[in-house]
């Protein structure tokens, strides 16, 4: 087949134009990402010192102080969220992957998809009326519940998708060895999908670590160290908000530093997750 030289010249030209458009699109997409990283780094690095991680905030007018309580608070909130969100999420994911073909399964899947689209502030209000009103106080517990609700659909769907990626032949191998279905699911299917699920869970942790809205009226904020989970709790995102809208220059610097720490935490979680996947592929 020969379509004539002109056709091939035209095709090559189109090929080049499309490729150039893709490169331009990629660059445009990367500009906001890198400018955010750059800007936060430049503005935040000045506020980072040991005190920032260990000290309590100082009152307006005094210099120094840190956000140790907010950093600890964020870790506490994320930890609680993981505690409440991961186990039911993983179990629901297993259910959907194994029995999701039923009408109920399809409903659950649909609900999870809808839930992952619910604005986080709505979840905040919901937990406010559910936990804060009943316990009559803002608390780390309430904040953890709110974040857990946000994590739940992400964890569920990731677990389901990754379990579905495990070849059916492995399940058959296990069943063919006279292994009961539940054990085949846990010890073969889940075990094989585990590294991927761990990555998905980490990413969802990273995602909720930066949530502000659901914490505003659940964990609220705290200028001091809190003990236990039934006191109001400071967190980095809420502190960033509070400090950024304040009129004080020193607080603005602190807000930038907090933003940098939060960004770094999320980035580290992401990179660790990806590294886990890569080292697993390498081990094969």
């Amino acid at each position: 087949m020969n379509l004539g030289a002109a056709t091939y010249v035209r095709r090559n030209l189109i090929d080049r134009v499309i490729r150039a458009l893709c490169v331009v699109g990629t660059v445009v997409a990367l500009i906001p990402l890198f400018s955010v990283l750059y800007y936060v780094l430049v503005r935040g690095i000045g506020g980072i010192n040991l005190d920032f991680f260990t000290e309590l905030p100082k009152p307006v007018g005094e210099t120094g102080g840190g956000m140790g309580n907010a950093l600890l608070g964020t870790l506490k909130l994320v930890g609680l969220a993981g505690l409440f969100g991961i186990p039911p999420g993983v179990l629901a994911g297993i259910y959907l992957a194994e029995f999701g073909g039923s009408r109920f399964g399809r409903t659950v899947r649909f609900a999870a998809d809808v839930m992952s689209g619910v604005p986080s502030i709505t979840v905040g209000i919901f937990v406010y009326s559910l936990v804060v009103v009943t316990t009559k106080q803002f608390s780390a517990l309430a904040g953890g519940v709110a974040l857990a609700i946000l994590m739940l659909p992400m964890v569920t769907r990731t677990t389901e998708e990754l379990l579905k990626l495990v070849p059916e032949s492995l399940r058959e191998a296990a069943l063919g060895l006279g292994v009961p279905k539940w054990r085949a699911t846990l010890r073969v299917m889940l075990r094989t999908a585990l590294p991927g699920i761990a990555v998905g869970v980490m990413l969802s942790v990273a995602r909720v670590a930066g949530e502000t809205a659901p914490l505003l009226f659940t964990a609220f904020n705290n200028r001091f160290w809190s003990s236990g989970v039934m006191e109001q709790e400071a967190s980095l995102p809420v502190n960033i908000y509070t400090y950024a809208v304040s009129p004080y220059e020193a607080w603005h610097r602190q807000a930038w530093a907090a933003a940098l720490v939060l960004l770094a935490t999320v980035l580290i979680l992401n990179i660790t997750a990806r590294f886990l996947v890569r080292s697993r592929v390498g081990a094969r």
Partner: protein, 314 residues
């Protein structure tokens, strides 16, 4: 679980390995119809071990001592019936091959023999499958227990990717919660039984998936044997293997039939001729002809069988 029955097989495998270049001693020489078909020298007199029971190549289908027996078996996926009423006795401690064109229901039939068919959603069965005269489709029979007695080797080697070679062999026992008294000994026994021991003994901790395709398939057979099934079902075990690996697996089948009842589904008619004592020809979900392998391949009674084995269709 007691692994004693494996010992004789293991010994043979080890012995064979040792004098690999020598011709096989008569008592371990594969005795089968296919040898004659292929113009190889005729089978030697049976060794002492198999002399005690009637020579299988003198046994006709009606004289089979069945280990399993399908009776009026129907199997469907949703509304499409794939097996349309098959009755077939499966001879104890012999090899039965099932041949037929693609889509004739060979694999489905095999999967009905250890209740793996019903694992697929929408799959149903009717009729009986007897294992030692007990219907495995009886309401109070636990399919999980059936699968422990009737092991299965699949078309594509499927070792567990998260487990080492050693753990793959023990997987069946461990996943069933069996306390292992001598795991190392059991691993060695099972791997020797499939003539894989010498190839992998120095890297038992490596991933099962690091082996070649043929080695993986033998690992999967070892994994099935470690559970000491009574029957071993093989669903085109060599279709993903090269000719050398295929030869090894076939050799293995010869040795295993001393201990196990084997049913093998194959697309490869030479393979059926080489390894099987009895051969069943399936067509469109029905059993067309069932006889000694030699008869099927030399003087089939049915025209369709003849057409298939001579390559006129299929």
């Amino acid at each position: 679980m007691n692994l004693e029955p494996l010992t004789s097989v293991a010994k043979k495998a080890a012995q064979k390995k040792a004098d690999n270049t020598e011709p096989m001693p008569p008592e371990t020489r594969p005795v089968h119809d296919g040898a004659k078909l292929e113009g190889m020298e005729p089978a030697a007199a049976p060794g002492p071990e198999i002399a005690s029971r009637p020579r299988w190549d003198e046994v006709s289908v009606s004289q089979i001592t069945p280990k399993m027996r399908a009776e009026g078996l129907h199997a469907s996926f949703g509304s499409s019936e794939v097996i349309k009423g098959i009755s077939l006795p499966i001879a104890e401690k012999l090899v039965t091959a099932i041949i037929g064109p693609s889509g004739c229901g060979k694999s489905t039939f095999l999967r009905c023999l250890n209740r793996m068919h019903e694992v697929v959603s929408g799959a149903t069965t009717k009729g009986k499958v007897l294992l030692d005269s007990q219907d495995i489709y009886d309401r109070d029979v636990d399919p999980v227990r059936v699968r422990g007695r009737v092991g299965m080797v699949f078309q594509k080697p499927n070792p567990f990717p998260t487990m080492s070679i050693r753990d793959n062999v023990l997987a069946g026992l461990r996943l069933n919660g069996v306390k292992l008294k001598d795991p190392d000994g059991q691993v060695e026994k099972a791997l020797r039984a499939v003539a894989l021991w010498d190839e992998v003994k120095d890297r038992l901790a490596k991933a099962g998936t690091s082996l070649s395709g043929g080695q993986q398939q033998r690992l999967c057979i070892a994994r099935a044997l470690a559970l000491e099934p009574e029957v071993l079902l093989m669903d085109e075990p060599c279709s993903a293997l090269d000719p050398i690996a295929t030869a090894r697996v076939e050799e293995l089948i010869h040795e295993l039939r001393e201990t196990y009842t084997i049913v093998i589904v194959t697309h490869n008619m030479q393979q059926a001729a080489r390894v099987a004592n009895f051969t069943a020809f399936f067509y469109l979900g029905q059993l067309v002809e069932y006889n000694r392998t030699q008869v099927i391949f030399t003087r089939p009674k049915e025209q369709r069988t003849e057409d298939y084995i001579t390559g006129r269709f299929g």
